[in-house]
Symmetry: C2
Subunit: 446 residues, 2 copies
């Protein structure tokens, strides 16, 4: 294994979490950000002077987690308004706060906070969508986090795009600025929803995405009310509308999908479009529960996402795995649905597939990008560790001791190495105090 | 404030989580395990040489959490069998493993592991029920954890009580051994359920509890099947059966209660009996969802519990609060139900009330026992911290930096001070390897 620049030794290896097989006493080597070899310690490669060694004794080495849906900058709105009906929460708290505070500086620093929170809980790739996504993309690559960064498109005046007539052009500018520029950042477009974007906007956004060879994201069938609204306006379901507009294909990612019926699932499966489920956000806003078992049975690629901190209110995918499995078990009165391996697959390889990165991330094998994490199995709450299912039902982000992205050690022994965390925290605290002041000056919502 | 032996300074104080008011820059003093004073830093008491000082700057000081239901020793069975139907899980995996492995040594060490996990996640009082509960009670007080320890009663041969005809006598021995012996341990009895204990056993157990002035616990209405079974056998619901046997009063604690109907809730409310809900366990086993909103509206005292690690699979009450609120929001299609304050109350003062300890623990005030914790508000996932709701929706056990029980510093800066954690982990790992060996030798479940 000549030329490797990173060598992890003495690990219990979970190379492909969807398969569940653990191999004790293993090593993994990387060179130039790519996994160059994996094996048992009996045949460990040389520890050269130029090679960084990480001793993972007592730890489980596994692929980094893939967060299929996030609005990173919304960390600022964590806990701003909880326990409210969805429309009141959105129109009286979130939209006004966004109108007052969202600018490139806010998006940059609050996306950095999100990056820190995700790295500290084992996420190595995030699919993010927000306004001023250029600032978010800068934040993620400055933090060393892999990102699919999608510029938001909506038919209303939005931060950075006061004239909705320019929303497609702004997205095109964003794609041009980021395509092929940074190995960590894959740009994309994010149409907010079929109820905030006209059919014409949706079609033009998808055409732009097709031209650029990039992903097209959309919030879809999140609430029952949305389905009723689209039905009343267009005479078909949200998924049916996308299908009739020719928008469903392997590069389309539908976020939420809580109210997809059997015909919608058939359309998605036939098209190759993916779904991202965000159970904690959907539970907290009482938006609904996706038919994940049916989606998976139909062969729809399914990924797991946290959503933003305004509705979740955290970005911990370990906790999201447990919540997702438990929710679907109790909702279907069947403790056998969504077993632990399915969740581990959704949070790793499944996420990679939905994001079009299946050849690069999602499992640990030679030739894949070196995106991985080490879970500390010495924490009392993970003892005994009979199987990887314990990651799903008892693991949490804080069990992650070390995170490596693209071969670079981003966090080690729970300390972020790649950037100055304190500066980020100070900046966000300052923005939070501005938010509080402006909220107290704003007219009270009626 | 002369004579205090512990002084916590510079804290943001959340004295009564159910009220939600936070007071910045506060101090709390304790003497002999009792809170002797609370105030603002402008009038902080003297820091004497004999007084231990804890600087809580950047931290939130709040009452310790109360875990209303646990089988601590079942940490050994964490992840032994997941994703299975309840009856297969119980009869093919848990009961056989218990028959092979449960003895006083196992209960002692595995209860210590549970104590460590609970202390590390902010629990300061646990209501535990298991076989060989004498060993569990020793474990909890050796670890400095406050416990209501309840000896299990079941009409089958059980670990430590091979002759079920002696189950009440064994419980009486346990009560006699522990009543008034240790300020941290309150003994009680735990009848397994109305389907594993005869009416006669239930009546005799309750009579013993009444004589001894102690709590009577019972698993009640956990599954739909249990309700059907009791209905078929006794012509009434499980709660109705308890009522007709004269077992419901303020010292009866019903665990789970997922299938209580309106009449059951009326019976409980009229009697003063309490309910402990264990949402993560109930979700994972698909057992059902309690009507918590109705129970609370009827005035039934409700506490939050983790259940044991075989079904949860962790003992983190912070995570349990978030899961409970989110589950009930999505199940009722209403994001306003079970707001954060209700959960905080259930996990502190509500738990104290159900356990008959309302005058001693559950909030921070002069005269109460000094059971408290400090949450590290500097963790990125808790920033910004607009309100205590963030504890429920983004907090987790690992955010707890310091735990004080009965005025004694049990954990500081996430290091357990009160006992040797490594010895406990080594003992449980040894037992886990015995479990694995015996499982591989055991005949395969059919």
């Amino acid at each position: 294994m000549p030329g490797h620049d990173l060598l992890i030794i003495n690990a219990t290896l979970l190379a492909d979490p969807g398969l569940g097989e653990m191999r004790p006493m293993s090593w993994l080597a990387a060179a130039g950000g790519v996994i160059s070899g994996i094996g048992g310690m009996a045949e460990a490669p040389a520890q050269t002077a130029s090679c960084r060694i990480i001793d993972a004794a007592g730890g489980l080495l596994m692929p980094g987690l893939v967060n299929g849906h996030c609005h990173g900058a919304m960390t600022l709105f964590r806990g701003l308004a909880d326990d409210l009906p969805l429309m009141r929460w959105l129109t009286e708290y979130i939209f006004p706060a966004e109108a007052r505070l969202v600018d490139p500086e806010m998006v940059y620093w609050c996306s950095r906070l999100a990056a820190a929170e995700m790295i500290l809980s084992g996420t190595t790739t995030v699919a993010d969508g927000y306004f001023h996504e250029d600032a978010a993309a800068r934040a993620f690559c400055d933090c060393g986090l892999r990102a699919v960064a999608a510029q938001g498109i909506i038919d209303f005046p939005a931060p950075g795009v006061p004239d909705p007539g320019r929303n497609i052009a702004a997205a095109a500018d964003f794609l041009a600025a980021w395509q092929g520029k940074n190995p960590l950042v894959t740009p994309a477009v994010f149409c907010h929803s079929p109820y905030t974007c006209s059919p014409d906007t949706l079609r033009r956004a998808k055409a732009l995405a097709r031209e650029s060879g990039c992903l097209f994201f959309i919030h879809l069938a999140e609430t029952k009310e949305e389905v009723a609204q689209i039905m009343a306006k267009h005479g078909q379901s949200p998924a049916g509308l996308l299908d009739s507009l020719g928008l469903l294909d392997e590069s389309t990612v539908c976020v939420h999908g809580n109210w997809l019926d059997a015909e919608d699932i058939r359309l998605l499966a036939a098209s190759g479009a993916g779904v991202v489920t965000c159970p904690e956000s959907n539970m907290k806003l009482a938006a609904g529960t996706a038919s994940l078992d049916d989606l998976l049975a139909a062969g729809v690629p399914v990924s797991l996402g946290t959503d933003g901190c305004a509705s979740n209110n955290d970005l911990d995918l370990f906790q999201e795995m447990g919540a997702c499995s438990r929710l679907h078990k109790v909702a279907s009165h069947d403790p056998t649905v969504l077993p632990a391996r399915t969740l581990l697959e959704m949070a790793t390889g499944g996420g990679a597939k939905v994001l079009g990165l299946a050849g690069e991330i999602g499992c640990l094998a030679p030739g894949m990008r070196a995106d991985c994490l080490i879970v500390n199995l010495r924490r009392p709450g993970l003892i005994p560790f009979h199987s990887p299912a314990t990651l799903v039902y008892a693991g949490r982000g804080s069990d992650v001791s070390t995170v490596i992205i693209d071969g670079r050690v981003i966090m080690e022994e729970r300390r972020i190495q790649a950037f100055d965390l304190d500066e980020t925290l100070a900046r966000v605290r300052h923005l939070a105090s501005k938010l509080k002041q402006s909220a107290s000056r704003a007219p009270r919502p009626v």
